[in-house]
Symmetry: D2
C-alpha cells in the first residue's frame, strides 16, 4: 500500500481538524525552530506533519538559507548537557555500563532529529539528497563536517549490506528506473535511450544495481557488464552501437566496463566492494561457460599525478620519463609504449600515505582483491579519457582462486597483485 498516499490522505484530513493549523500556523516559523518543536512534540502525528514541513523547507531553501539552517542545527542540537554532565560525573574508567551511559548521554540531538525526519515515508531519499547539499558546504566549515558525521553514522546503519538488494536492470525495467540510470552513469556517459537500450537490452550486455528498500526506484550503485570472447583493450568497441552482438553463450569473458555511484549523499558508505563479487556469482549461474571476470577501467589520476611529478623538485618518476613528458608538444599524448610504462609506474608506485595505490579506481579494485592484469594505450579516446590519462585504460582481473589472498595482502602489506605482464612492465618502467 502506498505509504506516501497514506500520509497525503492523513494530512488532507488533518487540514480539516485542529491539527491542520499546526502546519498553517507555522508559516512564519523558522525552519530550525520547527526542528526544535519536532524534538519537543510527543505526538506522532504532529511529528510527521512537522518533519514533512522541515524537509520541504530545507529542499526549497536557497543554498545560503540552507547553509545557515545547517549551521544552526549543528550548533543548537548538541547533547542534553544535564544528562551529559551527570554521565561524566558518574563515569568510571573501564566500566562498560558507565561508558555506555556516556555514549548515549553525549549523543548529539542532531541524530534524533535526523531519525525523526526519516519517519516521513519517502524521507530516506530526501535525506540522502540533503546530505549531498551538506557535503558541498563542509569544506572549510568544520562544524558542518561534524554535523555530517551524524548523517554518515546513521546512513551506515540504514544502508547496511544486509538491507540491500541486487537487481538486474534490463529493457523490461520500469522507465523511471532506467531514466535514473541514464542520469547517474558517471564513467561513460549514456547518450539517450538508444544508447541505454544497447547497454541493458543487448544479448551480450548486462547491468546490475544495488537498491535499498526505502528507495525502490532509485539505484545506489550499478555496474555495466559486456560479455565478450576476449579481454578488451579499448572502450570504443564496447560502446560502439554498430558493433557485432554475440550470443551470450558464446562469451568467455565478462567485462565490468563501468561502475557508477549514484548518490553523492552516500559518500563514504561502502557497498561497491560486494557488488562485483555478487554480480560475478549471478553471471556464473546464468552463463556457466564464463571463465574470466575482468574490468576495463579508467586511470583517472594519471595525468594529474604526472603533472605534479614534472613540476616536482625530486620526482619519484625516473628522469627519462620526466624528460619525455617535459618535451611533449601541447595536446599530444606520449608514445603508446611510453604511456604504458608510465601508467604501470603510476599504478604500482604512486601510493597513499597508508600505502594503498594512489589512483582511486586502482585502490578500489585492488582492495577488492583484483589483480592488475593489463594496461592499454589508446583505449579511451573520449575527452575525459584524454584529459585523465591520454586514453590509457586498465584491466583488473577478478580471479576467484586468488581474490581473498590478494585482498588480504593489499590490506595488510599494501602488496599489489600483478600479472606477469604487469610485473615486467612495472620493472621496465622503474628503470632509471
Amino acid at each position: 500500500m502506498a505509504e506516501t498516499r497514506f500520509i497525503s490522505d492523513l494530512f488532507r484530513r488533518l487540514a480539516g481538524s485542529g491539527l491542520g493549523s499546526l502546519g498553517r500556523g507555522r508559516a512564519n516559523q523558522d525552519t530550525v525552530d520547527m526542528c526544535h518543536s519536532l524534538l519537543g512534540t510527543r505526538s506522532e502525528v504532529s511529528g510527521l506533519v512537522l518533519a514533512r514541513h522541515i524537509l520541504d523547507r530545507l529542499e526549497q531553501a536557497t543554498q545560503e538559507d540552507r547553509h545557515a539552517a545547517f549551521a544552526r542545527i549543528a550548533a543548537e542540537f548538541g547533547p542534553d548537557e544535564t544528562r551529559l554532565q551527570h554521565a561524566l560525573a558518574t563515569y568510571v574508567p573501564g566500566d562498560v555500563t558507565a561508558a555506555r551511559r556516556l555514549h548515549f548521554a553525549a549523543e548529539p540531538r542532531t541524530q534524533e532529529l535526523i531519525r525523526a525526519l526519516n519517519r516521513v515515508p519517502g524521507a530516506t531519499a530526501r535525506l540522502v539528497k540533503l546530505r549531498a547539499h551538506l557535503l558541498r558546504e563542509t569544506r572549510g566549515n568544520p562544524e558542518l563536517a561534524s554535523l555530517d558525521q551524524d548523517f554518515r553514522h546513521l546512513f551506515a546503519s540504514w544502508f547496511s549490506r544486509g538491507f540491500l538488494e541486487l537487481r538486474q536492470i534490463d529493457w523490461r525495467t520500469p522507465a523511471n528506473i532506467l531514466e535514473n540510470i541514464i542520469t547517474y552513469e558517471a564513467v561513460h556517459e549514456i547518450r539517450g535511450w538508444d544508447d541505454l537500450r544497447q547497454r541493458v537490452g543487448d544479448p551480450d550486455r548486462r547491468l546490475f544495481a544495488f537498491f535499498h528498500p526505502a528507495m525502490p526506484d532509485d539505484p545506489l550503485i550499478f555496474v555495466e557488464v559486456a560479455l565478450t570472447r576476449e579481454i578488451p583493450g579499448a572502450i570504443g568497441a564496447i560502446l560502439d552501437p554498430t558493433r557485432k552482438r554475440i550470443a551470450p553463450e558464446n562469451a568467455r569473458v565478462a567485462v565490468f566496463y563501468s561502475i557508477s555511484n549514484c548518490h553523492g549523499g552516500l559518500r563514504g558508505i561502502s557497498f561497491g566492494n560486494f557488488l562485483i563479487k555478487q554480480v560475478v556469482e549471478e553471471l556464473r549461474r546464468d552463463q556457466t561457460q564464463l571463465d574470466t571476470f575482468v574490468t576495463l577501467s579508467p586511470v583517472p589520476g594519471l595525468r594529474k599525478w604526472l603533472e605534479e611529478q614534472v613540476n616536482a623538485e625530486e620526482p619519484q618518476l625516473p628522469a627519462r620519463h620526466v624528460a619525455a613528458l617535459r618535451d611533449l608538444a601541447p595536446d599530444t599524448a606520449p608514445d603508446p609504449a611510453v604511456l604504458r610504462e608510465i601508467t604501470a609506474f603510476y599504478l604500482t608506485r604512486a601510493r597513499r600515505a597508508r600505502g594503498g595505490a594512489l589512483d582511486p579506481v586502482a585502490h578500489f579494485h585492488l582492495g577488492n582483491g583484483a589483480m592488475l592484469a593489463h594496461v592499454h594505450a589508446g583505449a579511451d579516446e573520449s575527452v575525459r579519457g584524454i584529459e585523465n590519462s591520454w586514453g590509457a585504460m586498465v584491466n583488473y582481473l577478478y580471479d576467484d582462486a586468488r581474490i581473498e589472498a590478494n585482498h588480504q595482502a593489499y590490506l595488510t602489506n599494501s602488496e599489489i597483485a600483478l600479472s606477469s605482464e604487469m610485473r615486467s612492465l612495472s620493472a621496465q618502467a622503474a628503470k632509471r
Copy 2:
C-alpha cells in the same frame, strides 16, 4: 535476486579456496573470540563468513552457553578506551563537536558488532530473535540490560516508521505468512486454518500488518478488523464461525478486535501507534460508507489490580466495591452492573506514576487519541477473558475529529477522553 542464495553460493565457492579454512579452522574457536575476530578483520568476505558462523553458534547454543556469551560480549566489547580517554581529555563543556567526539568515542563496540552481524543477508530477523533470548536473561542482570540498550538503539533506527510497509493480509496471501499470523496471534487464539480463513477471507473481515523490508515474510504487528452494522459488545459473536456474514458495503462500523505484536525481540520499538491510523485510512478508501472506528479490547490488568485493592490497607477503590469483592464466592464473577462500575473505575482512576492509565491496553489506545466509549460485562467468556477481567471488555473509539486533541490532552495532562456514558458510569463508580 535471492541474497541468501548469493551468500550460500559464495560460501560454497570459498570452501574450495583458502578462505574455506576460515570457517573450518574455527571449529574450535570460542564464539566470543570469533566476535573479536569479526571486528578485527578488514576483509568483507571473511567478515561475512565469520558473522554467519557467530549467528549460527548463538542460535544453536544452549540457554546457558548463550547467557555466558552475552555476558562476555557485554563485558568485553566496551568502547575503545584509548580513544575515549583522549575524547575525555579534550572535552570542553558546551562544545558540540567535542561532545560528538565523546559520543563516538564512548560507543560500545557491541554496536559495531551488531551492525557487523547484520551485514549477513537475512540477519535482521535472526538478531530480533537473539534479542528476545537476551531480554529473557536481563532480569537481575544489569550488565545484560545494558547490552540490550545497544540492540534497542539499533533496532529503533532500523525499524524506523519510514521503512515499514502496511500490507493487507487475505486469503491470497502466501501460506508462510499466514502461518506466521496463526503463530503470532496473541489476543484471541487462531484455532487452525479454518479459523484463519474466516478472519482474513470473509467479506466482512480484514487483517492488516506492518512489515519491514528485511523481513518480508514476517509481520511485525497486525490488527484484525470486523466490519459490522453496530458496535459490538462481545467477542463471541465476532469469532463465531457460524455467524451471518454481511456484505462489506452494508457495514457502518469497523471494529479493531485484536492487535498482536509479533516479536518479543522488538519490545520497546513502537509502531503500533500508527498502525491503527493507517488502517483507518485504508478502510475509508475502500469502504467510504464506514463512519465508526472502534476497538473491542480486553482489560488485561483488571483482576490483578482489584486483588491488590482488596488486600490493600487503604484501597483506592470505594469501600462498597471492596466489600462486594471480598464477599464474592470463588469462581464467581461480580454482578454485571457491579463489574461495569469497577471496570470503569479501574480504567479511569488506576494510574501510572506519570499519570497515564495503569491498564496497558487502555494506555495504548488513549495514548493514540482514542476515547473510552463503552464497557461490557460478559463480553469475553474465554479462560483468559475470565482470568483477566471476569469477561469485561471495552470499546475505545477512534474519532477523527477529536483524536489529536485527545492525544495531546492525554500526553500532556493525563486526561482521559470519555463518552458521556462513561462519564456517568465513572462518576457513579466513584461514589463512596
Copy 3:
C-alpha cells in the same frame, strides 16, 4: 517460469538425441510440406519442433515465397473430403446433430494447422504478425481472403473480451512496453521518449491499454487521456510540451484524445468498444470529481468525401457549399464557419449503405453510444490534420445516462445523438 526458455532448453537437448535430426533433416523440406508433416505427426514434441520451424520459415521468407506458401496452404488444407462426403450423405435438414457433423467435417484443416502452430510458446504474437502479412496479400486473391477467415475465426475466439486485461501505462511501466507504445501510436505521433514521458508520466495525463496474456509485453489497443478543466477545442494545447500541468484533483474533464489499434493482424477483432467504457470506470474510481468524458477526435474522411461531392453530378452537399469549395484557392482551408458547417453536414448526413455514419471515427464512437457534441475548426494544424479535414476536429461525449439509449438508437435506426449545438449547426448546414 519462462515457457520459451523451456522450449529452447528442450530443443537444445533434443538436438543431441535422435529427434534433433527432425529439424536438421528437414533443412531441404518445403515449408508447406512441413505443414503437412505437422498435421500428420502424433508426437507432441515433434509437433512443436516442426511448428517452430514453420513459423521461422514463414517469417524469414521473402514476400513472394510467403505469398506462394499461403496460396498452397489455402489450396491444400481443405477439409477431409471423405469425412465431409460422409457427413453430406447423412445430413438431414433441421437435425442439429447432423448439422454439427457437417460443421466439423467441413472444417478446413487450415484451422487445425493454425491451432498446431499456436502450441509453440510465444506463437500467438507471431501468428498475429503473419496474418498482417496475409491481409496485405488478400486484395484480389479471394483464396487468400478465404484462408484469412480461418485466422479471423480463431483470433476472435482467442482474443475474447473475457481474456483481455486492462492496464494503466505510466512512467513506471517497463521500457519494452513503452517502446511499443511509441511505435504503435497511430493518431498523434509520439516524438521520442520525452514526448512519451509527458503523455504517460504527467500528473494530468493517463494512458490505458488492453493486453492479452499470451502477449504480455505487447498492447492490443490503447487510449490516451488528458485531464483538463474544460472540454478542449484543439489538439495543440494537449500535446504542447510547455503547457501548464494541473493537479489531477483539479480536473473536471477526461479527454480521450487518441485511440490506437496496435496490430494490423487483429483487423476485424473488436475490443475498442469496451476499452473506453472500462477506462471511464477506472478514471471515475481514481478521480471521483470528474464529471465529463469526451473525445477530441479527427475527422479522417472529410476532405476525401468533399472532393467526391465537388466532382459528383448530383452532390448531396448543398450547392452553396459545393460552390464555396470549388472557389477555394489551392492550399487554402475554407473559412472556419463554413468548415464547421460542412463538417457537421458530413458527419450527420454522409452515411454507409446500412445507414451508419460514413466517417470511421464517427461510426466507432456513435456505435459506442457517444453523442456528437462539438465541431472545431483550426483544431489540428498537423500535416495529416490538414490533409484529412483542414484541421477540423470533433468532441464525442460519453454521457453515462444516455450511452445505452444512444447506442441502441444508432444500431437500430442509425439515429445519431446530437448536442443542441450540433442540432442547430447540422440544420444550418443543410440549408440549401
Copy 4:
C-alpha cells in the same frame, strides 16, 4: 486492474440507468429465452449483462432444470438454416472455399452462445464447471453429447498449450491456490494443511502445476515430485510425515508420485503430456545432479481386469494365474511374487482395441515415451491401493535419450518399452 470489479461497477451504474431494467425485467424470463436474446442483441453492454445472468441462472439451477436447459439449448441453437441451405446449394466437392462456406454455415449457434458467455470476465472457469455438469448428463443423452462437442472444441482452442503457464507451487504460494491443491489431489489424498506443507514446503519435495491466464488461481493439472537417493518401491515412505528429509543437492532421483487433473470440465483436453517433460527441464536446471526421472504410479485397472479374466470363458491370463486367483481367500492379496507377475502380464498384454495398454495410467506414461521399469508388490497399502491393485505399484522411467523413440514406437506399433527386469518378468508371467 480487476476485470471483474470493472463489470461489477458497470452493472451497478447501469442499474441506475434504463438498462438496469434489462436485468430486472428479465426476472421472469426463461434462461433459454435469455440465451436467444443474448445472440440477438447487438449491444455489447446488454450482452454482458445477459451473459452474466445466464451464467448465474445455470449455476444456481437444480440439476433437473439445468438438464432441461441444456437439452433445449442443444435443440434450439443449431445452425442458421437459411445460410446452411445456401451453402449446401452452392457446395462444389473439392472446392476449399465452398467447403469453408459450408463449415461456417453449419456452425451450431451453440458455439456463438458459448463464446458470448465467455466474454464475461471470469466466465471461463464458470464454463468449465458448467461443462462438468453437462458431462455428467451426457450418458444416454446423445443430443447432450453433441452439445458437449461444442464445449470441447472451444476449450481445446482456448486451452491451447501455448497459453498455459507452468508454475512451481510451494509454501510461499497464496493460500487460496494451496486450498485448491488440497481439494484437487486425486491420487494420494492430502490430509489437511500439515500434510500439504510437507508436500510443497519440504526441501526434498516439489509441486508443479499448469495454469491458464483466465483462471490464475485455479490449477489445471499438477504433479507432485519427491527428490530421493534411490528409486522408491512404495508410496508409504514418500508420504510419511516422520520420514527423514534430505537436502535437495543430495538427491539423485526425481519421483513423480502423483499427477492430478483438476477439472472434470476439461476432460478430453490434453495438457498432461507436456507437464512431465517441462517439469523434468525445470528440475534439471535447479538441481543439475539429478540423473533419474521416474514415476511411482498406481495400477488402477488391475483387479477389475483380473476379475474379468477369472470370470471369462477364454481368459487371456495363463491358467495357473487364473487358478491362483480363484483360490484366493477373501480379503487376501496374492503372494507378492505372483502379484508382480500378473501385474506385469496385465500391463504388457492387456490392450485396447487400437493396441495401446489397457491400463489408463500405463497408457498415459507409455504414450509420453516412458519405459515400464519396475513393478512392486506391497507398495500402496491404502484402501484404494488395495482395491485397485492389491497394493501393486509401478515405476515408469523417463529416459531422455529414449523418450522420443519410445513414444513413436508406442504410438505407431503399440510397442511398450520395457526394462530388462520387466522383459524377464513379463516373459515369466506369460508362461503357461
